[in-house]
Symmetry: C2
Subunit: 305 residues, 2 copies
Amino acid sequence: MNLPPEFALIARHFRPLAGQGGLDLSDDAALLTLPPGRELVLAADAMVAGVHFLPSDPAETIGRKLLRVNLSDLAAMGADPLAYLLSDALPRTTPDAWLAGFVAGLAQDQAEFGLQVLGGDTVSTPGPVSLSLTILGTVAPGQALRRNGARPGDALWVSGTIGDGALGLRAARGEIDNAYLADRYRLPQPRLALGRALRGLATACMDVSDGLVQDLGHLCRASGCGAVLEAARVPLSPAAHGAELGLLLTGGDDYELLFALPPGVPAPDMAATRIGHFTYGAPDVLVLDEQGQPMALAAQGWSHF
Amino acid sequence: MNLPPEFALIARHFRPLAGQGGLDLSDDAALLTLPPGRELVLAADAMVAGVHFLPSDPAETIGRKLLRVNLSDLAAMGADPLAYLLSDALPRTTPDAWLAGFVAGLAQDQAEFGLQVLGGDTVSTPGPVSLSLTILGTVAPGQALRRNGARPGDALWVSGTIGDGALGLRAARGEIDNAYLADRYRLPQPRLALGRALRGLATACMDVSDGLVQDLGHLCRASGCGAVLEAARVPLSPAAHGAELGLLLTGGDDYELLFALPPGVPAPDMAATRIGHFTYGAPDVLVLDEQGQPMALAAQGWSHF
């Protein structure tokens, strides 16, 4: 069965997701009263079938991945999730069951992360499924983690493990037989608790989404300092051991936190690894191998163009 | 020349649009401090090339139309514009000049409507240009115009003229030779001043985007009353005179305000016309012709599916 007409579709699938501010998705816009004394944190990410997820991915995980890549941006700012708006452009031939699965995944993650949907738009497209999500979070004024505060001498840390997303894409495509990696590609884990714990502690923070080396370069440019990345220290999952290190360091879809701590300041008691340090000089990233020699990398990371 | 790599693209085209809260679009998310004592109003609308605008439309007007259909949602709530986030999925073959024009249009309307861009995402797509915009506005607590307050006996009003958008699509396609109508299709006029003036006055308000009759039905269902629409009273532009009335009453892209005023309350001194009244009974719309006879309409309005 294909999709019902627009308003029946919204009533059946999206209205059950709406929070109080969403006005049952039946008004022109949503209304939201911020908790007093909080600053608003906002980000938007888009995903296109065949570019950011596989058309064959389970519908349940696609909505969750979209939410989670946005939540990862909130985590990088040390923010608490609040609500979101979702735009989806769907082919007219989209099965109703696909949309039901997509929405079920969103409902699951709304509950897990304490979110409500405020609104959005559902339109048809002659192209692939094209999704965009705007997320809202809050933080106490002045407490947001920024990219621009790292100083020479600060230690460079990263959460979790790196490279699973890039390998996971291969697993999701069936090129590698590894359910753990496919799951890491389809369901990133936004590091919200770590982001919160880093407030007032980290001098800079960002999430790694387009390749560790490239993203570290962004952090260096924002902070106006250089960085040394010790490749042998980069934490790898058991599933990633033996894979080509260059791919792991420059592949996308990690959604881990990359952050700077003043020298001697210990990281919060969560999975995080010190992988280098910040330096004086130009905002370049020097990647050193196990012998302390500069590594040549084919690319720095992923570009959408 | 095609588009530059992602980060150069953002720096060249989008960074100049960013307001203070956008952090130069170089952080993971934007930060926004709300004016104290204001409620947030949020809406999102999507547009796809070939569905919501013509691929041949000038790039300058496409971004402006996207902003304006979102601003029209703020107008319908009586809200003041604040900021927006933009996601754009573009084919890799998009000419750099197209994006420059698109952004120039956004810049022009940002200045006209007092908006700043906070963030967003630019990705590639194998499909048509696919855009999504989330808009933020503010309103004093409790002052937002809703759809659900119309009462039997209230007068039904509409701003501007109806049907130009539907005819304008034909003009933009070259089926009609009329620059005024093509302009009405490409550049809706969000009725922000009227929306502000209706705060505390209108019992219900919405914007007409999917056809006057269908949208009035939504307002009736939200308010739990019926409506009589006197077709002969519906305001038409000189360019629309003589066109098939059924098309004008059910075509999309009007972006006028449809609102309810208590009996005897005059509308604000702006272009608005009384076109009917609200009734007891089921939330149905009765459309009467010049002789007071029910009109048969082929459709109520536009569905995206």
